[in-house]
Symmetry: C2
Subunit: 473 residues, 2 copies
């Protein structure tokens, strides 16, 4: 067993070590790539299961579009190619020959999906088109970190086409709100939402809505985005439809996505010096049962009790495991399952068995209590729910502690540079003032609707509305 670096003093090392030691992911042979190991992938599957159901319930259908896109497609939308060209991987040869036209490995699928939408769309009756895909995408990254930034990552990307701008705008907000629910209710990560500034928008979008979390080291993490695309995509791909009056119209498009980065946010937001702490709703193992064997005792009785409790919990849909490995001490097991962030632990020893109880403790260290073994399941269900709420409450407290309001960059800039954190301030919306943030390694994260400052953080022009400023992942 290796010890973990201290989370308070060596956050970045702690992160890398916990990813490795909890067997969430490993580095692939190609620089910047990642192998998601079974325990990490099981978390992703739980996120997928929840979100996929929500995506379908809100009227979208799953599809699969090709991985390889003609290079020329990317160039059809001017700002799109400008944004993505520097980071694409390009297939130049295939089937033993040089290709006539190089193909890019999709960095995102707007272009190929819009090409197909244009084929399928004829009349207003075909609208809205509302599709989604769970896919891998490749963006060549210079500095990679498992889950947070990898050359290949996994995501879902939703793409829709609507007859009116208003409908498209509603779609953007519908999915943003779904994402916020995923973050807060499932991952127990508090977030703030708002529009991105012009310079931070998705290449080719008219408006990018983001939801941002704040990591314990005071850096912001973009958790996902929902875009209102500019109509230039529809123009670029000749995507038109006949409206009810027979006139030719261009549809209004949206796209939205979240990625395996969410797992990185989960690790950072809740982890501690013992390792991962997983919210029950995305914990691959919610409860681990550890039989405490004893010499000169019929240990099969303990195992039998452990198995009976496991079966009862599993029957109720709880993800539960018995760790009956006889080659390991209970202490080694406690260490392992704490490292893996399992929310609850049940211990059963000879004396517990005699008394008809089981010792139940939780990963947050709230309490260690004896439960009546016969009625344990309802207590566990309740307790898991309490842990989920408690984890969100704790994360929210940390979030607000690091959220500051300040009027002028000259004052808060040095603080931000030294100690990170999220700063709410006023902004005139000029790119020149936004650029000043770079001097403190910070950037705008999202625009707020609130207006609590009269002037810009940098110049003396009036503030349009508040903006959140932070360093970021």
């Amino acid at each position: 067993m290796q010890t973990l670096p201290n989370i308070n003093t060596h956050f970045s090392d702690w992160y890398n070590e916990i990813v490795a030691q909890a067997e969430l992911a490993d580095h692939g042979p190609v620089r910047g790539t990642m192998v998601i190991r079974p325990y990490g992938y099981a978390i992703w599957e739980l996120i997928q299961r929840y979100l996929d159901e929500r995506i379908k319930l809100t009227g979208h259908e799953n599809t699969a579009f090709p991985l390889l896109i003609p290079e020329s497609f990317l160039k059809r939308e001017a700002s799109h190619v400008e944004g993505f060209a520097p980071e694409v991987a390009v297939v130049t040869h295939a089937g033993g020959k040089k290709l006539d036209e190089p193909l890019v490995v999709r960095p995102t699928s707007e272009t190929v999906i819009h090409y197909m939408f244009a084929k399928w769309l004829h009349s207003w009756r075909d609208l809205p088109l509302k599709i989604n895909q769970w896919a891998n995408v490749v963006r060549w990254e210079m500095r990679s970190r498992p889950f947070l930034r990898t050359t290949e990552f996994f995501w879902q990307e939703g793409h829709t086409a609507h007859a009116t701008l208003q409908e498209a705008e509603e779609e953007v907000m519908l999915m943003l709100n779904e994402y916020v629910r995923l973050a807060q209710e499932i991952l127990a990560i508090p977030v703030v939402t708002g529009a991105k500034s012009e310079s931070e928008r998705f290449p080719g979008a008219q408006k990018t809505m983001t939801f941002e979390a704040l990591m314990p080291d005071g850096k912001a993490l973009q958790m996902g985005t929902s875009h209102l695309l500019s109509q230039s995509f529809a123009h670029a791909f000749d995507m038109t439809f006949q409206d009810k009056e027979g006139a030719t119209q261009y549809p209004h498009l949206t796209s939205w996505g979240v990625t395996t980065r969410l797992i990185g946010a989960l690790i950072m937001t809740h982890g501690d010096n013992k390792g991962l702490v997983l919210p029950p709703r995305v914990a691959p193992i919610q409860v681990v049962i550890i039989p405490i064997f004893k010499k000169n005792f019929d240990n099969s009785l303990i195992l039998h009790q452990a198995e009976a409790i496991r079966a009862e919990l599993a029957h109720l849909g709880i993800r539960v495991q018995v760790d009956a490995d006889e080659s390991k001490t209970p202490g080694a097991k406690f260490y392992k399952w704490e490292l893996k962030g399992v929310p609850m632990r049940i211990e059963i020893g000879p004396r517990d068995l005699e008394q008809g109880i089981a010792m139940v403790s939780d990963r947050l260290g709230l309490e260690k209590v004896a439960y009546d073994a016969k009625n344990i399941s309802n207590c566990i269900i309740l307790k898991l729910e309490q842990l989920q709420q408690e984890m969100f409450a704790r994360a929210e407290l940390k979030f607000h502690k690091q959220w500051h309001k300040a009027a002028k960059l000259a004052q808060f800039g040095p603080q931000l540079e030294a100690a990170n954190g999220l700063y709410q301030t006023g902004w005139c919306r000029s790119p020149e003032c936004e650029n000043k943030l770079k001097e403190y390694k910070a950037m705008t994260r999202c625009l707020l609707e609130e207006k609590s400052f009269d002037t810009c953080f940098n110049c003396d022009n009036p503030s349009v509305s508040d903006v959140l400023v932070a360093k970021s992942y």
Copy 2:
């Protein structure tokens, strides 16, 4: 509405048209690629849902390995590179620069997974390693057909490592049997299993077990494979472990996979001149309810009844939809849902409503009967199950009708060339005799354990055991 080509006289055209008209898939912009549309993808999701559960119940865990593999990896196993080099797509540039080493887009993941297995494997305690991934792979195909052969396709690939050869052999058969169950019980497609001949084995495998179906045109379709890999993969990637006695050993490896090709098999096996016919277990819509509106009648009463039946069926887990589109005639709706292969249809008109009944018919045309609207759900569940069985029985009958036994190629070769079909015959196992089959556009499909012929289909040497011979997709 376009008419479908006749399935008996224009099978290949019929296939292409049904894929397009039922909106299962479309051609992507890059030659040989495919877009899987919502209706086709929903079938794939049902296949995935069933198989993923079986894969997990048999002790495997899901993972994600990188898409891009260093070209040199492919070369480490001699026959593997020989098999795959001609069909890989190669990334030569990324992030705006030429790469030091080209990367192949995975045609299959043995090499990168074995590289990682070698990192993770130390002791016999780490074995068996049993992982799976649902992934996209790319193989450059000259002649593509939707689902059956596309440059990019979707699959699951399982990869395992075992301490002993016997354990690896058991794994190969375990997963082969799981696949047979999927084919027969879920897809209602009868299959035959056996080993591939040496020339038809997976590149780098010591043994390839296949399960083969026979399409209505008499051509065989490989549905999937389960491989015992040669130990050369373990050697190529320095994959060793310490056994219980402390000696260094190479593990025994397997891999197994099925692809989106299964959807192609489903379309061909069950389809008819009206379109798709989907077995209930993989039908995205199992029951469609069609209200028959009438002038001078309060049609909201009919809609209300349709909705009540829909809700009751949905509550029981049946995938059901009401088609209440008032712009279409009932006839147009019948045509559409028959084309899409929905197994059952319920009609409710004014007179049915008065009598408290609903007219129920099935896609196989077995019967059209009036059911008591109050007790309809149990009848529907029973009927869906009967349809599933009936579809398998019909397919099995067709399969056996086209399965012939014949001693000598000189006799059955011309028949096979003219009219297709599956021929069981004897074989000495020499590649020279196998090569003779090419003269009739046929090949060996799989070896049988049965031995019903004394000599080879071509020469006079003794037959080792029977072999199945056919043309193939």
